[in-house]
């Protein structure tokens, strides 16, 4: 009985250590929440303080709270620059079949487009293109680079 409890405690300690170390590595390797990238490493800017991209979870196209905040900044920027049109590129990571990833990239780009439209940006100003997994921003095969590659990027057209 005591042995069992002891073992349980040991297991618990080991477990907690694992979780703690996992947290510290995640922070070190650069900001990932669940498996959505939250760092700034690959991000470029449409204007000062207006990030050009948002990131997605594996196989998902739903926008996170921080993605929505980024897109609202883009919407504000686009409202101020009425003559500017954009293309939203949708991308996937390399861990999926090519054809499905093309569809997934299209769905991600449209998720971003739809959100910009709810903030008053005309759909006519926003075209979308999916590159599937064909244009990774980070070529490394690792969870962090995959999270950086699962993205939609808003690019100025004119």
């Amino acid at each position: 009985m005591t042995l069992k409890t002891n073992l349980k405690n040991i297991v618990l300690v080991i477990f907690t250590t694992l979780i703690l170390s996992a947290c510290s590595t995640a922070k070190k390797s650069g900001d990932i929440d669940g498996d959505v990238y939250t760092g700034k490493e690959t991000v470029e800017y449409l204007a000062s303080g207006v990030p050009d991209r948002v990131f997605f979870a594996t196989n998902k196209s739903s926008l996170t709270t921080s993605s929505r905040a980024t897109l609202r900044k883009q919407a504000t920027f686009l409202r101020k620059n009425k003559n500017l049109n954009v293309t939203i590129e949708g991308h996937a990571d390399e861990r999926g079949t090519r054809e499905y990833n093309l569809a997934l990239g299209e769905r991600r780009a449209n998720a971003a487009r739809d959100y910009l439209m709810t903030y008053g940006i005309s759909g006519k100003r926003i075209s979308v293109i999916s590159y599937g997994k064909e244009k990774p921003v980070n070529p490394k095969s690792s969870p962090i680079s995959w999270s950086q590659n699962r993205r939609s990027v808003t690019v100025k057209v004119n």
Binding site: N59, S61, E94, R95, G96, T97, R98, E99, Y100, L102, A103, L104, E106, R107, A109, N110, A111, D114, I129, S130, Y131, E134, K135, P136, V137, N138, P139, K140, S141
Partner: protein, 445 residues
């Protein structure tokens, strides 16, 4: 009465070992490949030289291609020529069976060739050394520059005679040739003989091209191109080089394949974040919607009778494989195993569907029956997908990618093949990195 007679003769054949002709069972992994001797073809000394082709060497070269084809099946063990005991011309007339049996050969291929009036005349014979008799013989005439194809056609005939199934050597593979760093990959359409020779590039690499697939007569190819940054499905005539966009869709079209009669192209069309499956009739240009669902529907593949379509959908939440009637009715999910499934491809025999499976960070190529039962995983790796069937439905070709380091170094993409028995995994030889293979049907049929 006739029936009884045939039963009697059948029993007679199987009970008498010495008379039973050799046979190779290709339905299971073959751990004991058939020892076969491929004699160099005898070259007639009267042969005229032909446009830089060294006719003297052709007999040896053809026999070596046949050996290489046989070895690649895993079913045959071509014996070393040093041990051969008879000259090609004499063996071709009538081999001394007992001598060939001494080197443990069970089958022997002999032949001769001749160039006359700018034509290559070839004949070959296949001998059963145990039964001491000729199994098959054939002669044909062609242009000399076709000599590699001659070797492939002979290989097919022998394979057919020994296995009872169609061969797959006189075939080509179309694929995407890749070069450059991983984040700036240059991709071109390329076509080559099944054994890696005669590589030709069909596009220049100025735009991204993906997923080429042959039509049933191997003259047309449908593929996806980012020409002018408009990702669309294209149709390319290999012979004339002319190409055109398929249909007039206001958005991305992708994942194209031909219907088994070659009259339609089936593909996905993506709009407003939703991908559905459509067909277009190439003659009437009529476009038909096949699926209508808010999920992603893609990677459609017809059954060889044209009555059904297997496809990939995430309507259940994650990618799974579904089968429906070709009009889009009666949709049924067929994959329920652990993991997610993609790229269903119907076997040319109609009995199996090949697929890619992803589970716990590993990628598998597998086959299952068309109702989803009897799943067999053939190969596991870091990343692999896109199986395509050999025309006889016995072998799959697919592509495999390796892990990349910090700057993308160490990354490569290659074509591989594996028997549906799960045995005989092989890397195909390609001039460059390669992906998205599609296997032609037999060229000479």
């Amino acid at each position: 009465m006739k029936k009884i007679l045939s039963i009697i003769s059948f029993i007679f054949l199987i009970s008498s070992d010495s008379l039973a002709l050799i046979e190779v069972d290709i339905t299971r992994g073959n751990l004991d490949p058939l020892p076969i001797a491929v004699s160099p073809l005898h070259v007639d000394i009267k042969s005229e030289d032909f446009k830089g082709l060294k006719i003297k060497d052709l007999g040896m070269n053809i026999s070596e291609i046949i050996e290489k084809n046989f070895r690649s099946t895993g079913l045959f063990n071509p014996l070393k020529k040093e041990a051969f005991v008879q000259k090609p011309d004499i063996a071709h007339l009538k081999p001394r069976f007992e001598d060939w049996r001494l080197i443990k050969a069970q089958a022997l291929v002999t032949g001769k060739l001749l160039i006359k009036d700018e034509k290559l005349k070839v004949e070959f014979r296949l001998w059963d050394l145990t039964a001491a008799q000729e199994m098959t013989a054939l002669a044909f005439t062609t242009t000399p520059s076709n000599w590699r194809r001659v070797a492939h056609i002979i290989s097919d005939k022998i394979y057919e005679r020994l296995t009872g199934e169609d061969g797959y050597f006189d075939t080509r593979i179309i694929y995407v040739a890749e070069s450059g760093p991983k984040n700036e990959r240059v991709k071109k359409l390329a076509i080559m003989d099944q054994d890696g020779f005669n590589t030709k590039y069909l596009t220049l690499g100025n735009e991204l091209v993906l997923t080429p697939r042959f039509n049933p007569t191997n003259q047309m190819v449908t593929y996806m191109s980012y020409f002018r940054n408009m990702p669309r499905v294209y149709l390319l005539d290999i012979e004339t080089g002319t190409q055109e966009v398929v249909g007039n869709f206001p958005g991305m079209t992708f994942a194209p394949r031909f219907s088994p009669d070659g009259k339609k192209i089936i593909m996905s069309f993506a709009k407003d974040g939703n991908s559905d499956i459509f067909t277009m009739d190439l003659e009437t240009r009529v476009v038909e919607r096949i699926t209508e669902h808010s999920s992603i529907d893609t990677s459609p593949s017809f059954s060889p009778d044209g009555k059904f379509i297997a496809f990939n959908s995430d309507r259940s939440g994650l990618q799974q494989i579904y089968v429906m009637r070709s009009d889009g009715s009666n949709v049924k999910r067929i994959t329920f195993g652990k993991g997610i499934y993609g790229t269903p491809v119907w076997s040319p025999r109609g009995d199996l569907i090949a697929f890619t499976k992803m589970h716990k960070g590993r990628f598998y190529i597998g086959v299952m029956r068309t109702d989803g039962k009897g799943e067999r995983l053939l190969t596991e790796n870091y990343y692999q997908e896109a199986p395509s069937w050999s025309p006889n439905g016995r072998v799959l070709v697919f592509y495999r990618e390796t892990k990349a380091g910090e700057k993308g170094e160490g990354f490569s993409a290659k074509l591989w093949s594996i028997d549906i028995t799960g045995y005989n995994e092989r890397k195909l030889s390609t001039k460059t990195d390669a992906s998205d293979p599609s296997w032609s049907s037999l060229l000479s049929k």
